[in-house]
Amino acid sequence: MSEILLEMKEISKSFPGVQALDRVSLKIKKGSVHALMGENGAGKSTLMKCLFGIYKIDSGEVLLENEHVNIKDTQEALSLGIAMVHQELQSIPERNIAENIFCGRYPMKKRAYLKMIDHKKMMEDTEKLLSEINLKLSPKTRLADLSVSQRQSIEIAKAISCRAKIVIMDEPTSSLSEHEVNALFDMIQRLKEKGTSIIYISHKIEEILKISDEVTIMRDGTYVGSWSSSELTTDMIIQKMVDRELTNRYPQRKSKPQGNILQVEDLSSTDPKSFQNISFELRKGEIFGIGGLVGAQRSELMEGIFGMRAISSGKIIYKDKVLKIKRPRDAISKGIALLSEDRRAMGIFGVLSIFDNVTVASLDHHLILKTILNKKSLNEVVHESIEKMSIKAPSSKSLIQNLSGGNQQKVIISRWLANGPDILILDEPTRGIDVGAKYEIYTIMEDLVSQGKSIIMISSEMSELIGMSDRIMVMCEGKNTGLIDAAVATQENIMTLATKYM
């Protein structure tokens, strides 16, 4: 048990303008779950990418089973028995589940003249794997037809099925719901028993304390220290991560919602499997939470309101008028904003700068003579955002694709705040965001509602839902299964409603 499987010594790595890692060390015991924690941009993913051969280290050394290894590329990492679940989804949307899982190591037919793939074995193995992680899907489903969380589960399944010595999981649960998280934890338990080591990155401290054996904390690319998890408490972790006290996880909710701003009546999607007959109302100055399990069609509902999906029937009344929205820009021009759950596909402009990413939706408000962009006022907006959201980047000209995942999320939130919307729809707003930054986002949410704006928040994190919302609507299989006042909400009663039709 105490045998050291992997040792990373004094690893340094720099990118143009950033020292991402500065002499970081890490020791992983065999058959243990080792958590890696730190704020957004602390260098966790970078350290793991160095281990997995995606980045080349500038200096330092890696010892695997006391042997010095020099991992040049991912193929080599895989062959050494290292597997990785990446922070950003790495799926091939046009191919099916089986092919995604076995990509890079297809089973081959043994007795055939030509080297043929053994499709039968691949399907069977996939099916077995899917049932192990509790996913009721056909191995032949295209990844493009899956939800983000299902895709995430497939990636976890893929990493696990490699039979690796070390499985790196970079925020595996950021887009999973309770149900799937539990399946994952069971899986991790079983892996541990088989002697596999797991490096687990997460911003969810409860999770870390629940499943990890040891914790290493990083800050600003440096090594802070390693502890056995039994010695740690939530507050200690936060203190070590952010280097200051954080007394409250949620800000004091002071705003008092009043009056109606949005009324959704009997809204149904054209797709019969999606949301049906949803009604709710949103008050001015309210944070309206929506809870439910994955596949509950919460995102679809919001996308329907935002004009991204076809609506078959129902009414949306906004500021006492019936709202006709055909496409997102109709909604935006009316003062509605949506932060999408799929950051990669619907959020970031990877090759563009932070500046462009923040301003793209609000250019209309910064025009001189209705044509020329007002660089000065735009710059102000951007710098204000970087400061207010404490976005960690060399400059506003840095490309967003070079930021850490959490910082990307902050940039996208800034985009919508810059637009000054009356209704802000946040789909998993704190996904991948560290505790410190989460608190900042919550504070901003509270600020907004106290200015009389309204927020709809979809979240799979129960405590966040309960901690931030005024009221919570719970959905299950496309239907509204109940509305709970936050004051009386508990994890249990949300869960009951969320699984009503299951």
Partner: protein, 333 residues
């Protein structure tokens, strides 16, 4: 009733191109004598086969999100090399006057080696030097053309051996007016081979994976560099074969053989559902795409459409066909 109607519409939009094709054949066949005849079928098929082979080669590049603009020029090089080695002994104006009569297969191999070499270069430039495929293969297009100019001195090469030209004209057997030519056999074999490659082997799966998400393929342990090199080399081989056959079919070759065939091949692939954004494409679709092109051309000639207008019609039909076909992928979310 209503459901029935919906189903029909659904079926129609899913098979827009095939239906268009059938309609075209039906209309021209009814109005123009000779269109629905054995000889015309033979003509069309002789045209289709080399283009299908080129399209197969290009399709792999497209599926990996690449492209290959050097295809046409490689076809030209292949054809010219083949012709220089396969002239009749008694032909006065021979390129290599004293050359002995090599067997066809030996020359084919020589041709393939040449074009595979340039395909290999393409692959290495794209995957190792990371030059964008459009530019890499555009550069290669120019280079291969230059080499062909230097090699052939821009002389047209003719006087081919009978055994060589009969590859395209000779028939294996014939039923009624429909003759089954050697050329068809080659096309069918290569089509099946590619179907097998695309669906049953690692080569194919890697190709789709790279096109679908190169990064994901890389981190899954796919050797992206090697896969791409292989793909471009195989494409080169196909161009060589196509050039060899095309020259046999036209009874000679000059440096302009195959000029801009790549654009037609890419268009045919796209019509046949090979996505320009990578990761998608089937052999049957490619064949369909090539058929659309060739049937359209022949139909316009039979319909006696003025040549200048033929360009307009061809361009318009391509756009319309794809516009209709694309509907099936665009299901509103």
């Amino acid at each position: 009733m209503n459901i029935e109607k919906k189903r029909i519409i659904h079926f129609m939009s899913n098979n827009a191109i095939t239906l268009l094709l059938i309609l075209l054949v039906f209309y021209v066949g009814m109005t123009q004598a000779g269109f629905l005849s054995g000889p015309n079928f033979n003509n069309i098929m002789t045209n289709v086969v080399p283009r299908f082979i080129i399209a197969l080669g290009v399709s792999s590049c497209l599926i990996t999100k690449g492209t290959d603009l050097s295809a046409g020029r490689m076809v030209g090089l292949g054809g010219v090399i083949a012709c220089t080695f396969l002239q009749r002994a008694d032909y006065a104006d021979r390129f290599f006057p004293g050359l002995q009569q090599y067997p066809l297969l030996a020359v084919l191999i020589l041709v393939i080696l040449a074009t595979a070499f340039f395909g290999l270069l393409n692959g290495m430039v794209i995957s190792i030097l990371k030059v964008p495929p459009f530019l890499a293969t555009l550069g290669m297009q120019t280079i291969v053309y230059g080499i062909n100019l230097v090699y052939s001195g821009a002389d047209p090469i003719g006087g081919l051996r009978k055994d060589y030209t009969s590859l395209a004209t000779g028939e294996l057997f014939s039923i009624g007016g429909f003759s089954f030519k050697y050329l068809f056999l080659i096309g069918i074999i290569l089509g099946i081979l590619f179907w097998f490659l695309y669906n049953k082997t690692r080569y194919g799966k890697y190709m789709y994976a790279i096109g679908g998400n190169e990064n994901a393929a890389e981190v899954s342990g796919v050797n992206v560099t090697l896969s791409k090199i292989k793909i471009y080399t195989v494409a080169g081989i196909m161009y060589g074969i196509a050039g060899f056959l095309l020259a046999a079919k036209s009874g000679g070759a000059s440096v302009n053989l195959g000029l801009s065939y790549e654009l037609e091949a890419i268009a045919a692939c796209t019509i046949g559902g090979v996505s320009t954004t990578g990761g998608v494409g089937k052999v049957s679709g490619i064949l369909l795409g090539v058929l659309v092109f060739e049937l359209l051309k022949t139909s316009m000639q039979f319909l006696k459409i003025d040549t200048s207008y033929q360009f307009i019609v061809q361009g318009a039909v391509i756009i319309i066909a794809v516009a209709l076909d694309i509907r099936k992928y665009l299901a509103k979310k």
